[in-house]
């Protein structure tokens, strides 16, 4: 139906079963993921201020070096998974990268010593875990119906049309990784200090959502 959703592919790399392609759309998303990953790599965390309502008391939250190292590692892993999801031309790889984003999002806040944040991360983890069922099922239906997981083949229109249910499952799986209306637990995770790392949680979900919009319009 609609060809060239994200613009004309500028570069296609076929590497065995792996497929990477770049369009103006995917390049834009990839560069954003790269920029924020570099920011997570080079930024020091902020000292988040907590105020006591009804009084003048306030205190700054400090992040220990060990905690910072672990969270920075998870933030970079999240950035790499997001970048992979932006440029891959294979639907199964996309679902793998999406699942990895969910895991690293939990990891980014897992080291924070706050019961609210830990609870939120646990609840988010459950939702993200459940969301992988429609996510991978959607990819399986894509493969079963079209016989291919290549987005380029879907773009060419040489394979049978993808049923709406497969697109719906893929979208539901991505939304479950942290988009509305399943992001309530994620919002609580943002209580955690360490802005450069926490931002990767929201950025990764948003970029994955933007990519899946392109994918479901193919084929």
């Amino acid at each position: 139906m609609i060809d060239l959703v994200g613009g004309v592919p500028l570069y296609i790399l076929e590497f065995g079963d792996e497929l990477v392609y770049l369009t103006p759309y995917t390049i834009t998303l990839f560069l954003l993921a790269l920029t924020f990953t570099v920011l997570a790599l080079i930024s020091q965390p902020e000292k988040q201020i907590d105020i006591a309502f009804g009084g003048d008391a306030y205190r700054a939250k400090e992040i220990s070096v060990d905690e910072m190292r672990f969270r920075r590692f998870m933030a970079i892993a999240c950035g790499l998974a997001t970048m992979g999801a932006m440029v891959t031309g294979d639907i199964f790889n996309f679902t793998l990268f999406t699942a990895m984003v969910g895991i690293t999002n939990v990891g980014i806040v897992a080291a924070v010593k706050s019961p609210h944040v830990q609870d939120a991360a646990y609840q988010y983890g459950l939702v993200a875990l459940a969301a992988t069922v429609p996510l991978f099922a959607g990819a399986a239906v894509y493969a079963a119906v079209t016989g291919s997981l290549s987005m380029i083949e879907l773009m060419k229109g040489t394979v049978p049309a993808v049923p709406l249910i497969a697109k719906g499952m893929l979208m539901l799986g991505v939304i479950g990784e942290g988009m509305a209306p399943f992001y309530a637990a994620k919002a609580e995770m943002f209580r955690a200090p360490g802005a450069p790392y926490v931002i990767m949680c929201s950025l990764s979900s948003l970029l994955i959502f933007l990519r899946v919009v392109e994918i479901i319009m193919l084929g």
Partner: protein, 291 residues
């Protein structure tokens, strides 16, 4: 020589768009004030704000994450500059709306980077209000079903042949209007800048960083309104485009002036309801236009 002059033209266009966007925001403030029986600031107040902040003392808070604090300002200007060039080159609508959604992350970055609780809550509210973006993508899907393309140039050509999409896909235009409304200051969905949060996510950004944020806001306003006109009215000559943009800002100002700011819960609930209605509409369009 040619590339240099075209590069100069592009920078000139960018500057004009930024200043005109700031002027639109000034008109927006003035109209709201007059409706509420206040004199209001002059319409060039937002331009003065930007110039004033450019020459004020600049600092980075002691509690901030310095690289992120400065980096998000540059990213904010960068993404809207990219959106502007996609718009004038008739590129993919999906890229512009992707950038629109990424603005949420920039707001989040602004909010979290300083360490201030006020800006942090502004940033968190920004992420929570991401529900407002979902009607946008339903609108995009509906437009794609009608025009079979997401290129702005192709969408405008479609309208030259078939008439404005404002008539053909009126509910999609309404949904996109709500999306733009959610980005306007003093509007019903402006929960990220509510007064209980001082200035929300931008509370701690002062001096040149705030001037950068003002530039971003001017460019964003210009791009969003110009995209709306391009997608739902079609190609317009420059005078008509400017008239159309002023008309749009007047309508937006009336909507902002007569509606109170909602609570975060109500804001998200209404946006989700709009999304549900748009999904039903998109399903109907899909069945009728492309059975």
């Amino acid at each position: 020589m040619t590339s240099r002059s075209s590069g100069t033209d592009m920078i000139a266009e960018l500057l004009i768009a930024t200043f005109f966007g700031l002027l639109l925001l000034g008109i927006h403030r003035k109209i709201i004030a007059r409706i509420q029986r206040r004199p209001g600031p002059p319409i060039w107040q937002e331009i003065l704000h930007m110039l004033k902040f450019s020459f004020k003392t600049t600092w980075i808070p002691k509690t901030a994450s310095p690289v992120l604090f400065v980096g998000v300002v540059l990213i904010a200007i960068g993404i809207w500059t990219a959106a502007f060039y996609v718009l004038i080159s008739g590129g993919s609508l999906l890229v512009i709306f992707g950038i629109y959604m990424l603005h949420k992350i920039v707001e989040h970055g602004f909010g979290l980077s300083s360490g201030s609780p006020y800006s942090k809550y502004g940033g968190v509210r920004s992420v929570i209000s991401a529900a407002s973006e979902l009607p946008l993508f339903v609108s995009v899907a509906v437009i794609a079903v009608y025009t079979r393309s997401l290129d702005l140039s192709a969408i405008m050509y479609y309208q030259q042949v078939h008439g404005p999409l404002l008539i053909i896909a009126f509910p999609a235009a309404c949904a996109m209007f709500i999306v733009i409304l959610s980005k306007m200051p003093f509007g019903p969905f402006s929960i990220v800048e509510a007064k209980e949060l001082v200035s929300g996510y931008k509370t701690e950004h002062f001096g040149i960083w705030r001037a950068g944020l003002e530039i971003c806001n001017g460019l964003k306003t210009y791009v969003l309104i110009a995209v709306f006109l391009a997608v739902f009215i079609g190609p317009l000559s420059l005078p008509w485009l400017l008239v159309g943009m002023i008309l749009m800002i007047v309508i937006l100002a009336f909507a902002c002036a007569v509606t109170p700011m909602m609570s975060p819960f109500d804001s998200v609930t209404i946006q989700m309801l709009v999304t549900a209605l748009m999904l039903v509409y998109a399903a109907i369009v899909l069945m009728v236009v492309q059975p």
